[in-house]
């Protein structure tokens, strides 16, 4: 068994959610895919030092509640934040 210690550390894990999620009633695989490019690339972002990644974690959690998703875990790299979600 792979220990979590052997995996590069996720930036965040919701252990309670992870332990209690039940996919028994999941039935629909096909996903809805939304991609929004606010600017063409990161260098086009207005020069005020704030970008989408400046938005705090709790705001993303609240936005995702509107979608009916919860954050299971999140990894942060130099250039992106990757959230793994419930559902």
């Amino acid at each position: 068994t792979v220990s979590l210690n052997a995996i590069p550390s996720p930036s965040y894990i919701d252990r309670e959610l992870s332990a209690n999620l039940d996919s028994t009633d999941a039935f629909e695989g096909p996903e809805k895919l939304l991609e929004i490019w606010f600017y063409k690339n990161s260098s086009c972002v207005p020069d005020n030092a704030k970008t989408l990644r400046s938005i705090d974690f709790s705001t993303w959690v609240r936005l995702l509640q509107l979608v009916k998703c919860q954050v299971l875990s999140m990894k942060q790299t130099e250039k992106m934040n990757a959230f793994l979600l419930s559902e």
Partner: protein, 314 residues
């Protein structure tokens, strides 16, 4: 489901009965309030580019609100965006077409400098960083023995016993390794690799893999008999991360090897018209062993090129 947030863009991919588009109003309010980004024009919002797509649902009546049918989703999107176009791709009346909504590019936000003669540079001649490509495979009818790899035996509701280990993530990582989903790409030395995978209970699997800090591929699997489904989506530049040893056809074959679907559609977006991967996939005919190609459709969408292929197992 997954969310990827970059400095300038986000990708939200959600399964089940999620209400993806219901975040739009709040999202644009947040970017205005937190970042002072205001994309409002004449009562609508006009960011650089918006894509919304999905394969047709297996159980549309179980979806919530506007997500029960494509026309309602399109109408809802049109309330926000003034320049969107809607496409139904594939054979209508069949249960496997694919739908796409895309807005015209807002070139005021591309930061492109004008030349001294007033003309703008050709996109195709810009730096490699300006290229963008996304490969997506949506698969149904998974081979049962392969689908069973995504079924676990743990029970939900067990007490959290450790501050370090998390069973769903540990099992998820194990599934990634056992199924070789961590070896989709021949990543060369120096390309970083981080995975975040989760095994749902009693079954199901989601994974985000980040390569080289800025590229991702994501997998979502619902292995239940009768409506088994798996998706693979990637913006990984295959030539770069493999050091030229792989192309997207090889990637596709590895994904098929893991899931063995009876039917799959492949979509490939590229920003450049002279994208080698686009050209190779476009020529793909009978090279996919055990599968017959049923549809091939090419669209030119403003500044993007889209290839849609659908295959059925022989």
């Amino acid at each position: 489901s997954s969310l990827f947030v970059f400095d300038h863009k986000l990708t939200l991919k959600t399964c089940g009965t999620t209400t993806t588009l219901f975040c739009l109003e709040e999202l644009f309010r947040v970017v205005k309030e937190h970042l002072d980004w205001n994309f409002c024009q004449k009562g609508k919002v006009n960011p650089y580019k918006v894509f919304y797509s999905r394969r047709c649902f297996m159980f549309p009546k179980k979806q919530q609100g506007i997500h029960q049918n494509w026309d309602d989703e399109t109408q809802y999107l049109n309330k926000f965006f003034s320049n969107g176009k809607s496409y139904l791709v594939g054979r209508l009346g069949q249960a496997n077409h694919w739908s796409l909504y895309v807005t015209e590019t807002n070139r005021d936000l591309d930061g492109q400098d004008e030349n001294f003669d007033g003309s703008e540079e050709d996109d195709d001649e810009n730096d490699d960083d300006d290229d963008d490509e996304t490969l997506e495979m949506l698969m149904t009818g998974l081979t049962p023995s392969r689908a069973s790899q995504f079924v676990t035996t743990r029970e939900p509701g067990q007490p959290v016993e450790s501050d370090t280990d998390d069973e769903g993530h540990v099992l998820g990582a194990q599934v990634t390794e056992d199924t070789q989903l961590d070896r989709i790409y021949d990543n060369v030395e120096g390309v970083s690799f981080q995975q975040d995978a989760f095994a749902f209970t009693p079954c199901g699997y989601s994974a985000n893999v980040v390569m080289d800090q800025e590229y991702y591929y994501t997998l979502h699997v619902t292995p239940e008999d009768g409506w088994s489904y798996a998706s693979f989506e990637s913006n990984v530049p295959v030539t770069k991360v493999s050091g030229g040893t792989q192309d997207n056809i090889a990637v596709m074959e590895r994904v098929l090897q893991v899931f063995g679907p009876s039917d799959f559609c492949l979509t490939f977006f590229s920003r450049r018209s002279h994208n080698d991967n686009f050209a190779k996939l476009k020529k793909l005919t009978d090279r996919v062993s055990n599968y017959t190609r049923k549809d091939k459709i090419v669209y030119q969408l403003d500044d993007y090129h889209l290839l849609y292929l659908r295959f059925e197992r022989n």
